[in-house]
Symmetry: C3
Subunit: 136 residues, 3 copies
């Protein structure tokens, strides 16, 4: 088991960050075959795979989330804490906090158009911590 | 590899149960660093991470699921089995049956407001079995 | 760590394929206890668990996806590539590209009505590659 941790700066509000380049750099050094698990600490962000191209990343995913879980609906969460991010928690729970990806020869076995992305649903810019665990 | 199993009693109908306390107790005994995988047996429950506070847990998640996948819509599943839980299966497939969490020194590396939760979407109280696998 | 790879032929358009029989055959040969991770290569398919019965598989899951993420809505993705599968990418990101399942004595610890399924959201028949990693 090997572990590395890295930080990701986001704009919040469904900002999508491509984790694949940074992960690839680490994995090249580790080498070999196995699985990589990525986990974002916190309850208002998520990790999944998505083609990292402007249409999906800058528009479609955010528009979908706004349709399914609007930021301006009423959430009891916001009455508990007097804050504004009930939608952020629900979106994150739906997408999930992590993903596991197989690799071989130190390279992720994702498809050509399949990147690992962090989506930040909080309502402000955040510094996120991603914990990567390698099992081989 | 280490494994432990535990039972969770739910009320069904989107009841959210906090697994973090029980998991923490087991992990403290196991100690060390690694990843923990949690899996709920059955096709009408799910596991994800969520802030365990009353607004989200007692209201917002259930309200969201009722909006997206209503319990009173028509599902062909219910004609196959003559039952009433088509929505339960779909909600569970969407959230997923498990989650993987990194830990260090026998402590989950979740955020302060990020708990591991089981959501039971079945239409009646259930006893659920959660299978925990520790890799380190 | 052990790995095996297999191909799945799909019809696309939310076609659901049951992976459990093929996976069970491989796991029986491997035997022992551990976890199995399944990952589908590509950004327009997903893996989750679902009861594999005709109502859910041939109708309800596809109908839900069409309601939440319609294939005939406007997606910026389709302007980037001049294609027609923006909805396929979003549905896949929501369900996720993989699942992890515990096993014991070479048998998946899924419930009686809980199968591992691949859902192909692309708009045409595809040959999919599933990468299975066994850790024990």
């Amino acid at each position: 088991m090997k572990r590395f941790t890295f930080e990701v700066y986001t704009e919040g509000n469904s900002d999508v960050q491509n984790l694949s380049p940074q992960v690839a750099k680490h994995l090249r050094k580790i080498g070999g075959d196995g699985i990589l698990h990525l986990f974002v600490v916190g309850s208002t962000a998520a990790i999944t795979t998505l083609e990292y191209e402007p249409g999906l990343v800058k528009h479609d995913l955010a528009a979908l989330m706004q349709k399914l879980i609007p930021d301006d609906a009423t959430y009891q969460h916001e009455q508990t804490w007097n804050d504004d991010n009930g939608h952020s928690h629900l979106r994150s729970a739906l997408l999930g906090p992590g993903v596991t990806i197989p690799f071989t020869d130190g390279k992720l076995l994702t498809g050509e158009y399949q990147q690992v992305v962090l989506v930040d649903f909080d309502t402000r810019p955040r510094k996120r911590v991603v914990i990567a665990t390698v099992l081989n």
